[in-house]
């Protein structure tokens, strides 16, 4: 059983992302704003498996989250860019990361995803009179998400990184 769980740990942890996205645990939120959960999974995965694998996983993650949120806007471009970039960084550092580097990378990734999403909202409301009010809202969400994701990433990303790394090393 344990062997089965360990062999499929990437799938099980991946399934946790949509559950967390729907659940929105209040324990990890500030002003009801959640950290960017998919980044926590995407970052260690891309570091270990490289940019191509990372961007493909980003695409897959984006599709799943878009289906879940059923919104007019998409998260796919943000996750593809992040997956590719995380993979490049992983290759450059030879998959050796310091704990707080996870925080920095996750914060930048969260910023990229947030900005891409916010630009879509702004473009959709470009000709509307309420466009001005949206800046306040967007900046608040992006800055809070960056802070939360950067704060929690060293913990979550490190755990997942160790898990994925050993799984690959033991060739399960």
């Amino acid at each position: 059983m344990l062997r089965f769980l360990f062999r499929n740990c990437s799938i099980f942890t991946f399934l946790g992302i949509p559950i967390l996205a729907v659940w929105n645990p209040r324990l990890f939120s500030i002003m009801d704003i959640q950290p960017n959960w998919p980044i926590f999974w995407l970052l260690p995965w891309s570091i270990i498996n490289g940019p191509i694998n990372g961007s493909l996983t980003g695409l897959f993650l984006g599709i799943i989250l878009d289906i879940l949120n059923n919104d007019f806007y998409t998260q796919i471009p943000g996750f593809i860019i992040c997956g590719f970039w995380f993979g490049k960084v992983g290759f450059k550092n030879k998959k050796q990361m310091i704990n707080y580097q996870y925080g920095l990378l996750a914060s930048i990734g969260c910023f990229i995803c947030g900005i891409i999403y916010f630009v879509q909202i702004l473009l959709n409301h470009l000709l509307e009179e309420k466009n001005f009010f949206l800046f306040n809202y967007g900046l608040k969400i992006i800055s809070t998400q960056i802070f939360l994701t950067g704060l929690l990433a060293p913990v979550f990303c490190y755990w997942l990184f160790v898990l994925f790394k050993y799984k690959k090393r033991l060739n399960f």
């Binding site: 919104d71 009179e129 809202y137 967007g138």
Partner: protein
């Protein structure tokens, strides 16, 4: 004899006879001089629960309440009948379904709540969701067992609303934060902070006259239209149970 003596010495008023008589005398003098006013005051407090007036007032209050309820029911019935004649949107208490909030996303990009009733309970896309305080949002999509509600604070939310006091209609548009903007398509209008905002009777999306919120501030300098910030009366962050109102056209 000895027994009588013992008895008389055991009574405290026999021991303190002088003082007892003196106090009684003072009391009598006081009552005489005060013309028994204090006695009447004491009687007032003692007899208060048994007054017929108070009892009657309670009966009257209950009767009035019943009368008002009957009147409200009658007016609702008339309203529904007339709206039916005019082919406008309508909803009634019997068309509502209770549901609980199973997921809440009020802070991030997606301002939504997920409810534990779906297609199986007869919920349809576009139904209005009402919580304690007033309107929360509109059902956006449904699955067999759940319904996702777009909150009024969402950037994609737009509903028709009106200010009842001055009979002015506008569009309530979410801007992401807790105070959506009410946009009026007129410039010089009689709107002030504290006015009640209700769902528009002319709206094709919502039941008429559902309480939405209170005007917090008015920006008459905004161009090209006057806008007002609305403080919502129903707080989606705190609400656990909601009512889903079915619409009929």
């Amino acid at each position: 004899m000895i027994k009588n003596r013992r008895l008389s010495s055991s009574r405290w008023w026999n021991n303190q006879k002088k003082w007892f008589l003196f106090i009684v005398f003072i009391l009598v003098v006081f009552l005489r001089l005060s013309k028994s006013l204090i006695v009447r005051d004491i009687y007032y407090f003692i007899s208060k629960p048994f007054w017929p007036g108070e009892f009657q007032r309670e009966i009257l209050r209950k009767s009035n309440k019943k009368e008002f309820n009957i009147k409200i029911d009658q007016l609702e019935y008339d309203n529904l009948r007339l709206r039916k004649l005019l082919s406008l949107q309508r909803s009634s208490k019997s068309d509502s379904i209770s549901a609980s909030v199973i997921s809440r996303n009020t802070g991030s990009w997606w301002k939504k709540v997920i409810l534990n009733k779906g297609k199986r309970s007869g919920i349809e896309v576009g139904d209005a969701v009402v919580g304690p305080g007033g309107l929360l949002g509109i059902v956006e999509d449904i699955s067999t067992f759940t319904a996702s509600t777009r909150l009024l604070t969402s950037t994609e939310s737009k509903v028709g609303a009106w200010v009842q006091r001055s009979n002015i209609h506008g569009i309530l548009s979410g801007v992401g934060n807790d105070g959506p903007k009410l946009i009026f398509y007129e410039k010089d209008i009689d709107i002030k902070a504290g006015d009640y905002v209700l769902s528009s009777p002319a709206s094709t999306l919502l039941p008429p006259n559902l309480p939405i919120g209170i005007i917090e501030s008015v920006d008459k300098n905004s161009k090209p239209f006057t806008t007002a910030t609305v403080q919502l009366t129903a707080d989606p962050q705190a609400i656990d149970w909601v009512q889903i109102l079915k619409l009929k056209i």
